[in-house]
């Protein structure tokens, strides 16, 4: 570091930096050495120690200080390591909690299916005996089909919607493989596709194995898309059962389909569809009616089937996602 030329005003920042860079050693060492050099000829103090600091005493003090330094460094290291470990432990236990609770949920779902099956069997046994009961059973089956709470199969269309592939110049080291921004499929995109399929005459639709009933929501919660409150991930396979001759053609001509096709052109969202001869769609969950009851209980019992057209009630519903968006 060259000293600033005399008479030339250095800026405060530059002189501060000069000082920091030039004075790496505490000036007190030089001062102490100078004092010692002055005293040494007369006092006979042994070199390496100042007046009241004897040589051995000084060494002991230095050793003590270094002991404190070592202690400090070790404690700090331990704290940092323990902190990292603690975070990992917390994360691990959270992960285990998720696993345990997921298992509980799965068990409950299985139990629900079992009990529903028992109820159905008991009902069939009770009703199959009489002709009236048999008729009621048929009507019930029709209604269940319309309400999407029984599994169905048939020909139809499979629409695939997926997040855009990660761009080639995305950072492979720091960046994650996750796509972000406009290339990610939103809940609205799925809703568009589903609505277009309903409008094209689809009779039953499922997304990644989640059957859509009349009030099944398609919603976004953070980064995840929830269908019927259960998360589904990209690629999203929308299976729709409908007239094999017209479903695909009518779907392609809907404005919603062209909107999604524009997403593909603009942002690289994966969007394609294929006609399938045989689709199997699982049963959906029934909407629980808490407050609504039949308008006329006697009439509903005497003349059933009037409001429960099996093929039209659901198929033409233009908006199955009232909670969407």
């Amino acid at each position: 570091m060259s000293a600033p030329a005399p008479g030339r005003q250095r800026s405060l920042g530059a002189s501060l930096l000069d000082q920091v860079l030039a004075e790496t050693l505490d000036p007190a060492y030089a001062q102490a050495a100078a004092t010692r050099a002055q005293r040494t000829p007369g006092d006979g103090v042994p070199p390496g120690g100042t007046g009241w600091f004897g040589r051995s005493r000084g060494q002991l003090l230095v050793a003590l200080t270094l002991l404190v330094v070592g202690l400090l460094a070790a404690i700090t290291y331990r704290e940092a390591a323990a902190g990292a470990q603690g975070r990992e432990v917390a994360r691990q236990s959270l992960r285990e909690d998720i696993g345990v609770e997921s298992e509980v949920t799965d068990g409950l779902v299985t139990q629900l299916e079992q009990l529903t099956g028992e109820v159905t069997r008991a009902r069939e046994q009770a009703l199959a005996a009489s002709a009236v009961g048999q008729r009621a059973l048929d009507q019930l089956a029709e209604a269940e089909l319309a309400a999407a709470i029984s599994a169905v199969s048939g020909p139809g269309l499979r629409v695939t919607l997926g997040n855009a592939a990660p761009s080639a110049d995305s950072d492979p080291v720091g960046g994650s493989q996750e796509v972000s921004g406009p290339g990610v499929v939103q809940d609205g995109d799925l809703q568009l596709v589903v609505n277009a399929l309903w409008a094209s005459g689809a009779e039953a639709i499922s997304i990644n194995g989640q059957r859509l009933a009349a009030t099944t929501p398609i919603r976004q919660a953070g980064k995840a898309i929830l269908v019927d409150s259960r998360p589904v991930t990209s690629p999203y396979e929308v299976s729709a059962i409908g007239d094999p001759d017209s479903l695909a053609n009518r779907f392609v001509l809907t404005p919603e389909a062209s909107t999604v096709a524009e997403l593909t052109a603009d942002y690289g969202v994966v969007f394609n569809y294929a006609e399938v001869d045989d689709l199997d769609l699982p049963a959906g969950t029934a909407a629980e009616l808490e407050f609504a009851g039949p308008l006329d209980p006697a009439g509903a019992a005497a003349g059933p089937g009037t409001g429960l057209g099996a093929s039209t009630g659901v198929g033409t519903d233009p908006d199955p996602t009232p909670d969407g968006g």
Binding site: Y29, A32, T50, F53, T65, R78
Partner: protein, 110 residues
Amino acid sequence: MIPIIGLAVGVVLGLLLAPSVPLGLQPYLPIAVVAALDAVFGGIRARFDGIFDAKVFVVSFVSNVVVAALIVFLGDQLGVGAQLSTAVVVVLGIRIFGNAAAIRRHLFRA
């Protein structure tokens, strides 16, 4: 020789005893370690320069650690703790580098 033994004993003690540090002091530990490192490197360099002084070393160590912690504490109270920590680390880091370079020149004559 004795100082090096002291350092080793300190490290071993710290790892074995694992004393718990009060939560309020934990943010100052890393800064204190950097300040201590600065004092230690200064001492080593002074020794190579032939002007080492035990009293200066001990006083510079204590004052370094206390002042560094105090600056960070003040910064925390004023809401600029992170920035002041950075300032302390930068200044002490430059000094450590400078002293390490001087030690290197003494050791390797290069």
